[in-house]
Amino acid sequence: MRGAGMSGPARPVPLGNEPPEGIVSEQRRAARMSLANTETQRRTWWRENQQRLTPYIFLIPGVLFFLVYVIIPIFESFWLSGFDWDGLGEKQWIGFANYQELFDDDAFYTSLKNNVLWLVLYMFAVPAGLGIAIFLNQKVRLIRAYKSLFFFPFVISQVVVGLIFAWFYAPNFGLFYLLLEWATGSGIAVLADPDLVTYGIIAAGLWPQIAYCMILYLTGLNAVDPEQIEAARLDAAKGFKMLWYVILPQLRPATFMAVVVTVIGALRSFDLVSIMTDGGPFGSSRVLSFYMYEQALSEYGYRMGYGAAIAVILFLIMMVFISGFIWKMVDDERRGL
């Protein structure tokens, strides 16, 4: 980067219409040199370190916002979880009492169980997305239109997805209910049944999530090397073996992304629960994020400390996955993958 235009320390500083160097007395020359030196030094400190500093300067706004909106609130949550506070009155320090109560709270275990269910069943979106992506990865007329139809559920808002499925399951007029009634003689109101309700909501959540994984895999499939496939063909690989040994290894980055977004999506599941059941019937479809909202911010809540305690637990669970992902990314980078 150091071009000719930049002044190094050796280059004399032009000083207007001064006479040529030889005529200048020694004294003046010395004085001028020292002046030039300080000036160049000041300018070069910045110039010399510019490249090193620039990234940090550009990082400052991002880091600042990340600190204010993410890192500091995390520690505030830890801090707040030690208080009994309704958000208006005086905070009262109660130490670990919130956690004690939490571990003795049936609603917490229901939420935790549902979160595990979400995590496990949501993973179905990854293979399903892969299947649809492979199915759609062909060259026929209007394939773009088909692709966008499959992608459609991811584009619409989660709130709309929740409403559509709530009507789908609705007793007396919902399509699913009527279908069951027609097939078996008696309909099941999924969202009113404490044992089925979480599965019903997860199914609704899978609809857009599969579309998301599908799009990740579709872009991944574009990058698959056709020569390798050809080579595999020559070696008589086909069907599942082709998929498993030739295609999938090349889709590793897509798989990684799909797993990450699905895990995070499962842990943040909130909108669908809120829209479809409001945590009901009698709290059987709650997940941790919804329970936290209910306790801290909903109409009947305002237990900030208790909500913060739930947030801390949810954070710790997420931390397990997040550290795993980060460790894997760092590891991949080190191995140059």
């Binding site: 007793p171 999924v190 969202l191 009113a192 409001d278 019937p281 009698f282 305002y302």
Partner: protein
């Protein structure tokens, strides 16, 4: 020179602030369109009667209002704000967010005129706001369904249950409800408990003075079980909104609905008329307890941070007057609290409600989620919903509520 400029600018600012303050009352509320229009008329009348005072009204939607009130009361309080009576206002009173307005009650004789709402507006012997409307709860029924099975409108609980058997035979839900939002179930509980144990016990329970595992509470649920166990209540109510259940009543698939008077508009939108829609007081269960009713009251308060308290109090006094209450309640289709206000006698439901509440000997409860503290209300209403789905879980439910009681009322 510079400092003089500074001073004069701040002087102008002070004068401007004072000018906008003197005679301006900032009022935040949450009204539906029809009541909003009525409130604006009331405001206009008030301004005409008090030249020099202008009311700046700002409307919010209900749900948004419930969340934002906590913010604006502390950050930028208006001079007047809508809220609710009973325990629902307790958090704001206890944290010093609402102003004591006992003097408004005293000076305007409101303890007489608004007597029916006095207990629900009083905390620590002081009044914290002015009520302007309430509405009755009771049983709305489909007259055609009654005719179809040949049932008579019941007076007592036994007759009511006997009717249910007739409805079940005809494939009609005896009682419908939609508990997706939980609160409709609390209406049924309130009446079960008010009719079985009476007003004083009900309030003691809501205030956490009686354990939920008490035998009297169990007696209430035993009466309720007479509806639940034979399947007289609409199945799948946990997945229904209250409007969905209203549709069942309109279609004649259900006979009775324990609801508040605001539901009448929904029934009539669905095609019911005064000839097909009936209203009755909840039947007597225990003849020894005086009849008590649920009538949730809406109120206006002065936040402690209000800047124009004097004029805000004038407005509260005006809002309590018979003229203002007559006007706004005519538009809302609800009941005025001022005993000298008049109601629209042409509306049979309003007339019935006025009659019902003004003759209540036992006392007027607010509603479970306003009488009990918010947390208890939430856990309680979940318990009621669960009881109506899984009546065999009653002991677990009551134990859970009792555990919550031990924690919430400290």
């Amino acid at each position: 020179m510079r400092s003089m400029l500074y001073v004069s600018i701040s002087a102008i600012a002070v004068v401007a602030a004072a000018a906008s303050q003197a005679g301006t009352v900032k009022y935040y509320g949450d009204f539906d369109p029809a009541p909003l229009a009525a409130m604006q008329e009331v405001i206009a009348d008030f301004e005409a009667a008090n030249p020099g005072i202008t009311v700046e009204f700002q409307n919010f939607d209900h749900e948004g209002y419930k969340t934002s009130i906590r913010n604006f009361l502390t950050a930028e309080p208006p001079d007047l704000a809508n809220w609710y009576a009973g325990n629902r206002m307790a958090p704001f009173v206890n944290s010093g967010q609402f102003m004591d307005v006992s003097d408004v009650w005293e000076e305007n004789g409101l303890k007489e005129a608004l007597a029916s709402a006095l207990p629900s507006m009083t905390i620590d012997g002081k009044q914290w706001g002015v009520p302007y409307t309430y509405y009755q709860w009771g049983i709305y029924y489909n007259k055609e369904a009654y005719d179809q099975v040949g049932a008579k409108v019941p007076e007592t609980w036994d007759e009511f249950i006997a009717n249910c058997a007739l409805f079940q035979e005809a494939g009609i839900d005896c009682v419908t409800t939609g508990t997706k939002a939980l609160w409709p179930g609390a209406g049924i509980f309130d009446y079960m408990n008010l009719r079985t144990n009476g007003y004083d016990f009900h309030m003691a329970l809501a205030n956490g003075e009686v354990p939920w595992t008490d035998d009297r509470v169990k007696a209430t649920f035993a009466e309720w079980a007479k509806l639940v166990e034979p399947g007289y209540i609409t199945a799948n109510h946990a997945a229904l909104d209250w409007q969905d259940a209203a549709a069942l009543l309109v279609q004649g698939k259900a006979a009775n609905y324990v609801m508040g008077n605001f539901a009448v508009a929904v029934f009539k939108d669905g095609g019911m008329t005064d000839d097909t829609l009936g209203f009755m007081a909840f039947p007597t269960i225990n003849p020894d307890v005086p009849r008590a009713e649920d009538a949730p009251t809406d109120t206006v308060h002065i936040p402690s941070g209000a800047t124009n308290v004097e004029d805000a109090k004038k407005f509260l006094a005006y809002l309590a007057s018979p003229e203002a209450q007559t006007k706004i309640n005519a538009a809302m289709g609800q009941l005025p609290i001022n005993k000298d206000a008049s109601v629209n006698q042409d509306d049979p439901f309003i007339a019935a409600g006025f009659e019902l509440l003004s003759t209540t000997p036992g006392g007027i409860a607010q509603f479970f989620d306003r009488d009990a503290p918010a947390e208890m209300a939430k856990i309680g209403m979940e318990g009621f919903q669960q009881f109506m789905v899984q009546p065999d879980q009653l002991d677990n439910i009551l134990e859970r509520l009792e555990k919550a009681r031990g924690r919430i009322y400290k």
